[in-house]
Symmetry: C2
Subunit: 223 residues, 2 copies
DNA sequence: TGTACATCAGTGAACGCGCGTTCACTGATGTAC
DNA sequence: TGTACATCAGTGAACGCGCGTTCACTGATGTAC
């Protein structure tokens, strides 16, 4: 097992993440990220303290300062990693637009919700961090690459457009897809169930139906 | 001026909210709500303490306990009031479906975003409270009445349906409208600008276009 | 292969601070008579 | 209209607690030679 994913300055000891028996942890940075993910999943992005994460990682309260300036930097890192995995998941679902753009967009939608389900903590850190995430260039890049998949999908779909009238602008289509997906995820999946109501269908089916109806209107899907 | 809006147990002194010069505040409950709204607007629903709200309202740290069990109860009250105003705003925009259902739904969409702009703090408390809001019956009722407007709008639109094939289920249409509106509001309005990107259009125009495209597909809007 | 050394990544003690919460209290208010 | 009184809605002192943050330190690691 290799440690220190970001700049790999060399391998340390060869121990598992848990049961530390050495003075050095070996992989504290990632251990803090994982401990924070657990805490976020339990109580939300605002539901824990920096000291608490250290405790959960089995380390003194001062140790995290070697890796993160403060609690916000930790959350930003969680969001960054989240966006990267998110981009990978979306891209895999997109699968180069196969079998066809509309079907591929549906798959993206499912992958979107699957991610929100599988990683509610990361999703929360990404979209409700509790402070502005803007100023982190790496994070912006990761977030851009996730959105890029959707934009790409919208472009491919618009390129296959066979309707009448004016061609739909791909950027707008991408934003609609993203917003509908996020809306459904935020309202009906995860901890923030402010409006958890009796749904007549699963969020997945709701999203698929919405995307189909929308794309059909653009002349992209069979009516 | 009358105080104590909820159960009006009788008029107290006749003083403005600010500059208190009496032992009793007279309207502390509402003053706490308003102070919290200011703090939420500045730092989000997680960005303040109970003691801080008391200080902002010019009152001792023990005073809020006369009105709210804890910080969460205060936020829940803010969310409740928010949903009530939200419902009123949506209903006004709906305007009994005039001039026609589709136009009225567009107006609802604009009112939705206008609320998120005008009351970002209340909106955040409603949709990102930071803890589960479920167990408050009054809050659920308020939230239901807001969603009820959208459901009503969707029903009216579906009743005016003139398409071919199967009639769209109103509940599903309502959920799509709500989700798209919330998605756009959450992503492109307010503090949580995790993905604030260069938009090619205003959130309002984005939502209107999305609703039109969607409703057109249902045979509800002119193509 | 061995050794000296620089560097790294932890420790744990210490600090001041503000929070949450309680408590007996007290000033103000409204009302019964 | 006055007065006594119950009730209400504040005060402010007190408490223990955990957090954030710093600091000199030290154990472990990797490497130059």
């Amino acid at each position: 097992m290799r440690f220190s994913t970001d700049p790999p300055r060399g391998a340390k000891s060869d121990r598992t993440d848990g049961g530390r028996d050495s003075y050095h942890h070996g992989n504290l940075r990632e251990a803090l990220v994982e401990a924070a993910l657990v805490l976020i999943a339990e109580r939300g992005p605002a539901g824990f303290t920096f000291a608490e994460v250290a405790r959960a990682a089995g380390v003194s309260a001062a140790a995290p300062y070697r890796h993160f300036r403060d609690r916000n930097a930790l959350i930003a890192e969680i969001a960054r990693q989240g966006f990267e995995r998110f981009a990978v998941a979306l891209d895999r679902a997109w699968n180069h637009g196969r079998p066809d753009p509309v079907k591929a967009i549906e798959n993206c939608g499912r992958a979107y919700l699957a991610f929100a389900r599988r990683e509610p903590a990361a999703y929360a850190a990404m979209f409700e961090p509790g402070f502005p995430l803007e100023d982190d260039a790496n994070l912006l890049r990761a977030s851009d690459s996730a959105f890029g998949v959707v934009r790409q999908a919208a472009e491919a779909a618009c390129a296959a457009w066979r309707g009448t009238g004016t061609r739909p602008p791909p950027m707008m289509v991408a934003l609609h897809i993203w917003a509908l997906s996020h809306g459904i995820a935020a309202l009906f999946i995860g901890r923030t169930d402010a409006t958890r109501r009796r749904l007549p269908m699963t969020p997945e089916d709701l999203l698929e139906a919405g995307l189909l109806i929308y794309l059909q209107s653009l002349g992209l899907s069979a009516p």
